[in-house]
């Protein structure tokens, strides 16, 4: 199935790029840096994959790529989703204006970013992981207790706070700002993300990882060349007990101490890098899984400076707005105080 997907890509690339470019699509002959490494440098975007779900919806079982009428309907539905998201994103406190979302709803015919397992779905958790996840969620709920949605910045997610988007989240397309810059030297590779401005400077010289006692938001990465593919391995992540800290609880893995991510960057042609990300954690999942993105070259020379934190007026408005609302309507606070008994279901529409 994986092979079939790649064939389908090669086919669509052929149609799109014309026969003359086909030879260039062979990953065996990438351009080289002056020191002989495959050249991945430049500014790349995952915009073309915007709107493709991480996991394949049930109705497209066995169809990694859609065509014909089914594709038409799929794109129509995504266009509706775009319109709804743009209004939502541009209309609520803390989000940007509508034009930030102009890239949403691209024309990709893929039905999931996950390419392996072949059904395009994250494999089931092991029983051990399931138990750990349930315990973690319970801890989380106890911690949240009767807090409101904006008692403090800590009640907001990390992206709202401009702290981080996590890995792999930072590489996956969002509504806008999906650009990544790659700079190489003989001994290092730097991967920069426009969104929130992130930079990973990754040694290529075979040095050991940081000590296990140093845990960071983006972990600790080491890279190597496997023929023409740049392989980046990352461990030493901070313990993510907060379910808001991830693009999805299940993609995080249940055990922070064994949380490891492997990314592969392969230049497929002048304008394309195939980016694959694999999670292989037998303690968490019953089998490994892989998601894939095609990154397209942009004419950009550098990333625009995304001053997420410096310009986070949204956070000021969310918090000051919540305080103003409580002042105008003290009932809001009273209602929260009433439903304090642990385990009781909340009927607060805010929650």
């Amino acid at each position: 199935m994986h092979q079939r997907l790649l064939t389908a890509f090669a086919l669509s690339a052929l149609i799109a790029a014309g026969a003359a470019d086909l030879a260039a699509q062979k990953p065996s002959s990438p351009p080289r840096t002056p020191w002989g490494h495959p050249d991945l440098q430049g500014v790349w975007t995952s915009d073309e994959e915007t709107g493709v779900p991480m996991e394949r919806p049930e109705q497209y079982k066995n169809k990694p790529i859609l065509e014909g009428k089914e594709l038409e309907e799929y794109l129509k539905r995504r266009e509706l989703e775009r319109a709804r998201n743009a209004n939502f994103g541009g209309g609520i406190t803390g989000a940007g204006p509508v034009h930030w979302y102009e890239w949403w709803g691209r024309k990709s015919a893929r039905t999931s970013l996950i390419t392996d397992p072949p059904d395009g779905r994250i494999p089931p958790l092991t029983p051990e992981a399931q138990k750990a996840e349930e315990a973690r969620m319970k801890d989380w709920e106890a911690k949240v207790g009767d807090r409101g949605p904006a008692d403090s910045w800590e009640d907001r997610e990390l992206w709202d706070r401009c702290v981080m988007r996590h890995l792999p989240g930072v590489m996956f397309p969002g509504g806008y700002g999906n650009n990544a810059q790659i700079v190489q030297t003989p001994t290092h590779v730097a991967i920069l993300n426009e969104m929130i401005h992130e930079v990973r400077v990754i040694p290529l010289d075979g040095r050991p990882h940081l000590s296990k006692s140093i845990r960071q938001w983006y972990g600790d990465s080491r890279a190597r060349w496997d023929k023409n593919t740049l392989v980046v391995e990352t461990i030493n992540f901070k313990d993510m007990t907060d379910p808001r800290m991830d693009i999805g609880v299940r993609s995080r893995g249940a055990f922070p101490e064994s949380f490891k991510i492997v990314e592969r960057f392969t230049r497929m042609g002048p304008d394309t890098i195939q980016y694959e990300i694999t999670r292989d954690d037998p303690k968490t999942w019953t089998r490994p899984w892989t998601a894939m993105l095609e990154l397209k070259k942009t004419p950009g020379e550098y990333l625009f400076e995304y001053n997420c934190h410096e310009g986070n007026i949204g956070m000021e408005n969310i918090l000051s707005g919540a305080r103003a609302e409580e002042k105008a309507n003290p009932e809001l606070l009273k209602r929260r105080a009433v439903r304090k008994a642990p385990g009781e279901e909340s009927d607060d529409p805010d929650r």
Binding site: T33, P34, W35, Q41, G148, D151, S152, W153, R161, C162, V163, M164, Q181, V183, Q184, T185, P186, T187, H188, A190, L192, H197, E198, V199, V201, P203, R207, P208, L210, I214, Q216, W217, Y218, E301, Y302, L303, F304, E305, N307, H309, E310, M315, E316, L319, S320, A322, R323, E326
Partner: protein, 275 residues
């Protein structure tokens, strides 16, 4: 308290005036005898500036000559000695030539530095300050771009060596276009926003800022960093900062993550937290 600040301000001006312009002519900062900068491994003949570098000294506390000084009582009450500024030589070729109005603004900034300094809020530092913050930075020298990444606030900038690039909008870190002049990397940085400061003492600039930087290796472990500051809205003439940089040579040294956003939120948003 007010008298304390007035005294401090006067002292600051007096020591500034005493700053010597010819300190950097001293041979210490010249190239070590017989030293020739190493070249890149791929044979383009350019000096290889790669590595992790860091400034020592007190430039980030105060670019001008100054004796050690403290902080407002409220800050000393929680941070004690750590809140003090160590005394230091100026890194400037004389007192900073402020226009009269701008000098008043600098005094205001100094007096309110514990609430106004963008470094407190984890805002990107701008240039030249990012170079001499008390955090390391890394130069990644590639064939057509040079990337500089800073540990503080995971900030970075691309120096364009292959073509001249203009910024569509002003940026904290500006827009950097570089060229080689002999063995020196010369970078012209333009398109700045006006929010950033030069140090913790409130020295500042406007959006008319243009910085011309010069990086010159002087030994295997030292690099001379010179930055000419040109901002006609704020200063009466261009002036220059000279800061020696030291190579970090610990085995396997790497930039650590310093994502300071979570450290700044209490200060920025604390007033809106539910009590």
């Amino acid at each position: 308290m007010t008298r304390f600040w007035q005294g401090l301000g006067t002292g600051l001006v007096v020591v500034c005036a005493a700053a010597s312009a010819d300190r950097w002519a001293a041979p210490l900062l010249a190239q070590a005898p017989g030293f020739k900068a190493p070249r890149t491994s791929w044979g383009d003949g350019k000096p290889d500036l790669s590595g992790i570098w860091q400034a020592l000294g007190t430039a980030n506390w105060n670019l001008e000559d100054h004796a050690a000084y403290g902080a407002p009582a409220a800050v000393l009450a929680v941070a004690g000695t750590v809140a003090a500024a160590p005394g230091g030589f100026g890194f400037v070729d004389g007192p900073i030539p402020y226009k009269p109005e701008a000098l008043k603004q600098r005094q205001h900034n100094f007096e309110n530095r514990w609430t106004l300094d963008p470094e407190l809020k984890c805002y990107q530092a701008g240039l030249p300050r990012a170079t001499y913050l008390p955090y390391p930075f890394q130069i990644l020298q590639s064939n057509n771009k040079i990337l500089v990444t800073y540990e503080y606030a995971k900030s970075s900038r691309t120096i364009h060596m292959d073509k001249k690039v203009a910024a569509p909008v002003p940026q904290y870190m500006g827009q950097s276009n570089g060229r080689w002049e002999g063995d020196s990397l010369v970078v012209e940085v333009t398109d700045f926003r006006d929010e950033s400061w030069f140090d913790r003492a409130g020295n500042f600039h406007s959006d008319a800022l243009k910085v011309t930087e010069r990086f010159t290796l002087t030994s295997p472990y030292h690099m001379l960093y010179e930055a000419t500051i040109d901002d006609a809205k704020t200063f009466t003439r261009p002036w220059k900062i000279t800061v020696p940089l030291y190579k970090r040579i610990e085995r396997n040294v790497q930039l650590m993550e310093f994502n300071c956003v979570p450290f700044s939120e209490d200060m920025i948003y604390g007033q809106w937290k539910r009590r």
